[in-house]
């Protein structure tokens, strides 16, 4: 474990921890997004999918949850520590510093990250635990007596502020990944040298896919396609 302690102590090591946990996050959001899109197939399919995750796959799901919780905790802890360090590295700020090439995405990693953290907590309390239940639909069951998560999704996204919050959060998730999917490969030192190192077509594609894939669900409800 001494190698982990060494990593944890250095700035590059902390960034490597962020990159690995961030990539775990990217893997998760891609799978999660595909799962969510089943809402367009209909209530039966979606509730059956949820029942499968809570029934036969429950142990697997719990294993993944533990990995994700550890990843989020490490990611946020490293983000916090590195941000403090960066602040301390420039005690007297410039009167004027003009950003030249940094993207808005890169400059919103921190505040966007805070929004994502708030979103993640809200989202778990909303659809996973049901402590936040704006549509009063969490405890409903469908015709087959299954937990009717489909009905909860539809009822929730019909509430304007719930949809608005999810849609804004997904914009920031897309931005976070537009920078993060690109930068994490450089943090890990696995990106190939390039004549234009700031170009990032693949991460732009990942960002758009993730943003669109998640946003389609509230949009589908608002448009009445999912009802």
């Amino acid at each position: 474990m001494s190698w982990f302690v060494n990593l944890y102590r250095s700035t590059i090591g902390k960034k490597i921890i962020m990159a690995v946990t961030g990539l775990i996050g990217i893997g998760f959001v891609l799978v999660h997004m595909l799962g969510n899109l089943q809402v367009f197939i209909g209530q039966d399919k979606f509730d059956a999918y949820a029942a499968m995750l809570h029934g036969p796959l429950a142990e697997v799901v719990w294993g993944l949850r533990i990995v994700l919780i550890v990843a989020v905790v490490l990611h946020v802890l490293m983000a916090w520590q590195l941000t403090q360090r960066a602040r301390a590295a420039r005690p007297v700020d410039y009167r004027m510093r003009e950003p030249q090439v940094s993207t808005w995405a890169s400059r919103t990693m921190r505040w966007g990250g805070v929004l994502l953290l708030v979103f993640i907590v809200f989202h778990i309390l909303h659809f996973t635990v049901g402590v936040i239940d704006p549509a009063h639909a969490f405890h409903e069951t469908d015709a087959l007596g299954r937990h009717d998560i489909y009905g909860d999704v539809v009822a929730s996204f019909r509430i304007w502020w719930v949809s608005a919050f999810y849609i804004v959060a997904m914009i920031f998730l897309g931005l976070h990944l537009f920078h993060g999917a690109w930068s994490s490969l450089r943090t890990l030192g696995v990106a190939h040298p390039s004549a234009h190192p700031l170009k990032r077509r693949i991460s732009a594609a990942i960002a758009i896919i993730v943003w669109l894939g998640f946003t389609l669900v509230p949009l589908g409800v608002i448009a009445g396609i999912v009802h």
């Binding site: 700035t11 590059i12 950003p99």
Partner: protein, 257 residues
């Protein structure tokens, strides 16, 4: 042309600083930025005032001494150009310029625009060298090096240690500097024996000097007067990760011969 300058004046490391307003009159477009400051200083001296302190040495873009922030851009508006090589034709009559020193905790202001960059020297001392036994030099062409490797190593070695990367970085990170120094030796065959040890030691020293971390904003690459690529940062990270993964305690056990 006539310009208005707002220059950061600070008597010493622990003194409070402030911007002072100066007028630079009849500036020729052919002057370099430092020559323009020289003329302003002559005026100050003639008036019995303290001239503006700024660092400079070669005035030909190779020593790395002359860095300053000009209107929020390291080394001013011209890409891949040091302040001494920046000419006044990059500005126009009536321009108002804000001139500040590099700002980083590791780069303490010595006076006005002069900062102490010895943190960079200590990073180099930690590992930016190749250990060779003294004796007769071997034939220079005895070690074959591919053109691509030689070119990449030269690209990294172009770093003049001016500190613009730290100055332009929102995090005050010295990653581009350290990466260039780690890489230019790490790429070459002569640098291989100490490659991973070097990455560990130089990164450890970089951290000790209170620089920030790398977010890969890309600002350093844009500010660098030698156009050093952030790909070298990826390379340093790679060497560092490999070094941490394969690191073992250094021991001096064994026969004494």
């Amino acid at each position: 042309m006539n310009l208005i300058l707002h220059v950061w004046r600070q008597a010493g490391a622990n003194a409070a600083g402030r911007f002072e307003r100066y007028e630079a009159r009849d500036v020729s477009a052919d002057m370099s930025f430092l020559e323009m400051l020289d003329v302003v200083n002559e005026g100050l001296i003639a008036n019995g005032q303290e001239p503006i302190a700024f660092d400079h040495d070669c005035r030909e873009g190779i020593c790395g001494m002359c860095g300053m922030m000009i209107n929020g851009t390291a080394h001013g508006p011209m890409k891949m150009t040091t302040t001494c090589q920046l000419h006044m034709r990059s500005f126009k009559d009536g321009d108002e310029l804000w001139i500040e020193p590099w700002r980083a905790r590791a780069f303490q202001v010595v006076k006005d625009l002069v900062v102490d960059r010895s943190a960079f020297d200590r990073i180099i001392q930690a590992g930016g060298f190749v250990s060779v036994n003294t004796g007769a030099p071997q034939d220079a062409n005895a070690i074959p090096i591919s053109k691509q490797v030689a070119d990449d190593a030269m690209d990294a070695a172009a770093c003049i240690g001016c500190g613009a990367c730290v100055a332009a970085c929102p995090n005050g990170s010295a990653s581009l500097f350290t990466a260039a120094k780690v890489s230019h030796l790490g790429l070459l065959p002569q640098g291989q024996p100490e490659r991973y040890r070097r990455a560990l030691k130089m990164v450890a020293q970089m951290d000790l000097e209170d620089f920030g971390h790398c977010t890969l904003f890309g600002e350093c690459q844009e500010a660098c007067p030698k156009g050093i690529s952030i790909d070298f940062i990826a390379r340093m990270n790679h060497d560092y990760l490999r070094a941490v993964a394969t690191q073992r305690e250094e021991t001096a056990a064994g026969g004494t011969g």
